[in-house]
Symmetry: C2
Subunit: 321 residues, 2 copies
């Protein structure tokens, strides 16, 4: 059994090779550029971990891992266009460094490259893998569309937001694990539990991310604290605050969002605290984490094999923040 | 054996059903909209014809046909964004009717849907089909990138232009035929000849398209004659004219392109005629058509089975224009 960290190293060793032909360089150089600016490689490594839960790691698991990472990077290139983001991991995004058309096409060709890796999978598993991959890919697009729709809506229900987050980010984590398990020969029951482990862990992680953006220690968090509040971004915290706030607090919140005063972050945080949003977020996160761990427990393999996934969950989700 | 026309009807019968879920409608309605605005369905029907050349039409051929048509429409949605085209088949393009982000994501999800159809192909053929589909999909992206690169370049060699046209439009026609043949159980030799038939026919068609844009009968052509000249579009005609023109004619051409006088179309056409570009284009077209027909001849099936493809070639490429 390998730790998450070991598997990141192993994955990167083969992933750092070129994935595209040299020519036309106007199409493929932007792809290679974007793949080299890094990323945590969580999804492909989850695929390897899902595989190793049931078997020694198979060559086909690396193909799925590469496909998942290429697909993820395709979504980032296109999402950056939609959000008009100029930086990603501290580096210029593709549409800024090159141009919109190149980013559009580079993204397209990264998705096709993902399918080229999947095409290498043996006959025994290819149909199951493609079915799950396609379904997940479509769901990720649905999540991105819902995210954009929600940003334009006045009111978004918390449950709809959770569904959107689940589609936009969690299902790919879940599917990465489950595809690894399929390659490892796991049955439907075990694959299902592993999928739910990943999906619930992903939601817990997103709740934590929203929490840290508002309440995190600026030194540890690595991003500017309060960024979401500054941008009026719909988050778990804001949606819950709008649901539980008194009429007066809700009016205050809406006024702060409309007027953007200099002390907006402090004032919004004060309302969040007085509504108990911070404690609520921690409770909700713990609920999703516990659901994830329960599904991990229910997988029918010896406990020792689950250790790396348990450690990963502990590493990703801090119990005390 | 069925004619092209019969197969268009048969294809459309099943293709006119919905391809996407109802929700989220903000993502899927634009996809359905774009698919219903029509199109000649040449590529999917080529797939059915490729299949029927070797066998009765198999259910898997319809899956490939649907995938090819969805992929083609995905490229149109994204190409329209890159060209900032506002109309397609007389109807609003997706990024104009909705918005850029929706067009980006709708295109993405149409490509994924194409792969969903391919995933339904049986174990016997799925690897071969995916390999050819992926390769072709990547080549189409390369062709689009080269097309954009060439528009910015001062000089483009005719051979590079032919290579670009081949990637951008012909390989998908060729692959559609060949994938149908694969489903029909054809061997590599026959698939190769059918692929070359489609590829050369596609190039002949493009030469004819460029020719008709300049020299066509306005009543028959259906588009404004001289549109390419007006836009300084690089075409077979312009590139050849620039290669064979005298220094003085080349200067004149470049001046006309820079200054856009009111009688630009007439003046450019006069130069084309005096360089013999019109006769040259007809000869080149006939060469590609004959190469295509030679490959069709070399396919090892009885001649009668080839009749619908011969008729299609006759219909697409007029010997006298």
């Amino acid at each position: 059994m390998h730790s998450f960290k070991d598997l990141v190293t192993g994955f990167n060793e083969q992933f750092s090779n070129r994935h595209f032909p040299e020519m036309p360089s106007s199409l493929y150089e932007p792809c290679e550029y974007f793949l080299t600016i890094g990323g945590k490689r969580i999804r492909p490594v989850l695929c390897l971990m899902g595989n190793e839960l049931f078997d020694t790691i198979q060559p086909d698991a690396y193909k799925v891992a590469n496909a998942v990472e290429l697909f993820h990077n395709f979504t980032l290139v296109h999402d950056d266009m939609m959000d008009d983001a100029s930086l990603r991991r501290g580096m210029e995004t593709v549409h800024v460094k090159y141009n919109q058309s190149t980013a559009l096409l580079s993204g397209d060709v990264m998705m096709i490259r993902a399918y080229e890796y999947l095409t290498g999978i043996g006959s025994g598993h290819i149909h199951k893998i493609l079915e799950l991959f396609n379904k997940t890919a479509r769901e990720v697009c649905e999540g991105q569309q819902l995210d954009m729709d929600f940003e334009k809506q006045q009111q978004v229900l918390l449950n709809d937001y959770i569904q959107m987050i689940s589609l936009k980010t969690s299902v790919l984590l879940a599917a990465s694990l489950a595809m690894g398990a399929i390659i490892g020969g796991a049955g439907e029951g075990n694959c299902g539990h592993l999928y739910e482990f990943g999906k619930n862990l992903g939601i817990a992680f997103q709740i934590q991310d929203d929490y840290l953006d508002a309440f995190g220690d600026p030194g540890k968090f690595g991003k500017e604290v309060g960024g979401d509040i500054k941008q009026n971004k719909k988050t778990f915290l804001l949606l819950h605050a709008l649901e539980v706030a008194s009429d007066e607090q809700r009016k205050q919140l809406e006024q702060l969002m409309a007027e953007n005063p200099a002390d907006k972050i402090e004032q919004v945080l004060a309302i969040y605290r007085s509504c108990g949003v911070d404690a609520w977020a921690n409770t909700l996160k713990t609920q999703y984490l516990n659901t994830a761990l329960k599904h991990l427990e229910d997988i029918a393999v010896v406990s020792a094999r689950k250790q790396p996934l348990k450690e990963l969950a502990d590493y990703l989700i801090q119990r005390e923040v």
